[in-house]
Symmetry: C2
Subunit: 413 residues, 2 copies
């Protein structure tokens, strides 16, 4: 039996215990992990230093995401404490009804089982995903990027010993140490042991998982996010939302990529917005009609409208009305996060109901799409697909349900 199969098998056995663990046992384990992360911070930071040294030739953006410091480690630990305070989704009764024959039916939340998580090289994702998986009564098999292997080993070892010390199975958190494609490919076949596979990362990773996995997948996706500025909108608010959504973190999936501007407000909004974007170092691209107002904007072709730039680039396009904006977003977008800035309640309602994205905003920045910020405690990723989970994948999204039917001897006619 290979390493991947053995770890999945161990996770499956651990998940049988996790499924029935009491809330108090799970919370005790989460607090023990928080404590252990603090106690072993120097070992974890040393492991992270080794990862950074091995990644010296990689781009700064990769190294930034890989790097851990005291403060981030402390916030990792408080993440576990926060999740311990959240209500346990397991055992929650979502719905109850009674049939005419007296049968009482309840839909009850239960854990998914074993979650396999394939992701890139941010060690804090290792901790966040594990805290959510454990609290929701699951076991988790982690397969992070190769750059973070030492950090992940140190983190997983810490979590495992804290689990064991608090009476829950250490095997509930597993790390696949084979960080080659082969390791991931093997994991995608483990249907016997793994209940759901969650990939988080670039489009190539997601595609590889969707095409090769023999296990049900919850896809997380790219964000080609839009802000539509409606006729009669508060243009100060629009500018503020656009700058916030583009500039606060241009390299993440909830960052703004394309602005759609109602043609009636374009001449008033665009010149001052353009100056501010330029000053912030953003390259502005525009459709032909935009470039009649912003002559220096770089031309934009149709293919670019589909793009998630993940960079200091923004595309601007003029539209005739809210319906054109909705059609554009549903056609070119990635169903992630899209905003309307408007004072018109009817247009706001139309946009909210017809834009087919996991998060649809009225008068707010797209940057709020995040499990922690939205009150989920954290997230394993943002699901932009339709099955099972949509939006941040938090505690409830890591559960399934069963129907419990209580009778007094009823039989079917």
């Amino acid at each position: 039996m290979g390493d991947v199969e053995e770890k999945c098998m161990k996770a499956k056995a651990a998940s049988e215990i996790m499924k029935n663990a009491a809330t108090s046992e799970k919370n005790r384990a989460l607090l023990a992990i928080a404590k252990a992360l603090r106690a072993h911070s120097s070992a974890i930071l040393a492991a992270n230093k080794a990862d950074l040294a091995a990644s010296a030739s990689l781009p700064l953006s990769v190294r930034k995401r890989l790097e851990l410091n005291e403060k981030q480690l402390a916030s990792m630990a408080s993440g576990f404490e926060l999740i311990a305070k959240f209500p346990d989704p397991v055992g929650q009764v979502m719905k109850k009804w009674k049939l005419k024959n007296g049968l009482r039916i309840s839909r009850v939340r239960v854990p998914l089982g074993v979650i396999a998580f394939i992701y890139e090289s941010r060690p804090n994702v290792t901790a966040e995903a594990s805290s959510l998986a454990l609290k929701s009564g699951n076991a988790i098999v982690l397969r992070g990027g190769k750059e973070a292997i030492n950090s992940n080993r140190a983190l997983v070892r810490t979590m495992q010993s804290a689990l064991a010390a608090s009476g829950l199975p250490a095997d509930a958190v597993q790390l696949i140490e084979d960080t080659t494609h082969e390791g991931a490919a093997q994991l995608m076949q483990m249907r016997q042991y793994v209940d759901v596979l969650i990939p988080r990362g670039g489009a190539g990773l997601i595609r590889a998982v969707v095409e090769n996995a023999k296990i049900p997948v919850i896809e997380t996706g790219a964000g080609n996010c839009h802000v539509y500025v409606d006729e009669g909108a508060d243009l100060k608010m629009a500018e503020c939302i656009i700058l916030n959504a583009k500039l606060t973190s241009p390299y993440v999936c909830n960052a703004l990529e394309h602005v759609l501007v109602n043609e009636k407000v374009a001449a008033k909004l665009l010149p001052s917005l353009y100056d501010k974007l330029l000053k912030a170092g953003v390259e502005v691209r525009g459709c032909d009609r935009t470039r009649r107002i912003l002559e220096k904007a770089r031309p934009m072709n149709e293919g670019e409208l589909y793009q998630e730039y993940l960079d200091l680039i923004i595309g601007i396009k003029l539209v005739g009305d809210v319906r054109q904006a909705i059609d554009h977003i549903n056609r070119y977008g990635t169903h992630h996060s899209d905003t309307i800035v408007t004072k018109n309640k009817k247009n706001a309602a139309l946009f909210a109901s017809q834009v087919d994205s996991c998060c649809v905003y009225v008068n707010a920045s797209t940057r709020f799409t995040d499990g922690y910020t939205m009150g989920f405690g954290g997230e394993v990723g943002i699901s932009t697909q339709r099955l099972h989970a949509r939006g941040p994948i938090g505690l409830e999204e890591l559960t399934t349900t069963k129907l419990v039917i209580e009778g007094t001897g009823q039989v079917r006619e």
Copy 2:
């Protein structure tokens, strides 16, 4: 473009209209379909006769499932009327919360989009699945078994013309007329147009879909269902439930296959139960300890414990206590429907919480696992897997959700 691709593309375009259709429009269409089914009953029954003639050499059980009569057609039509009366899941607010910064978040139900449904040869399934898909704002691509092709053509034509006459797109219901494996295989690749694939049928069909589909799948599954008779149970009730669960329809997935009997009540329960099963024509198989009580029962090996007989066969095994029964069911069962017969509240609660099946019963027949009976209005199938839907797949299970976030200009710090 091939026929399969063209139909999926048309379904996708229709789904964009269905998504935003008002409840009243959908209900009007459902009632129009009911009326049209009644009006065209002779054409539909003639098409069904052609199917039956072509299937003359097939087993009686297949022909029985294929056959339509006036009464069944009338109940098909009333099925559409029943679904028209159900609340529309689309637009339902499942949850609402407010963040400290004033953002108000709602989780709202929205349609899945395009549902591809691969199933066998029961024409009433064609109607039931379509009624649920349309009411929940979806388009459906049907690929039924070859034996029912004429019936399905007549049914789909009737539904399409009623849809068009009531102002909704006829293309919202599509029939793949290529009933070869090739047709199904093509459908499983239509990721660009199809949002979810639901297979319903034998284990071979489900496996083929899971292994080959490039589209998210909701699996429906076989039912190796159990009744456990606890120490101190009402043995009259136990016998009544066992006979009902085995005999009322032995060929369906919620029929009983294996009885687990607490060793303390076996000698009292089994002899009279055995006589009644025998009288009803059931072959009784037993574990070694069962055969010490029922000497004439046929021996049963371990492999048989995994089997869904779907026949007049029952397996009986003695167990020491409720925990052994739970372990047995989780190991040998198919996570479908399992019952405990008990007077002990603690054992009932333990069984309900630890048996990992989509439907867990206390003191009732497993035969109630059915969308219509449980109050879902109908079902596309019974999901025994963990993602998205578990148990009967009804209206709510054919939807997904989105988050609508309303602000007053909030931006992220």
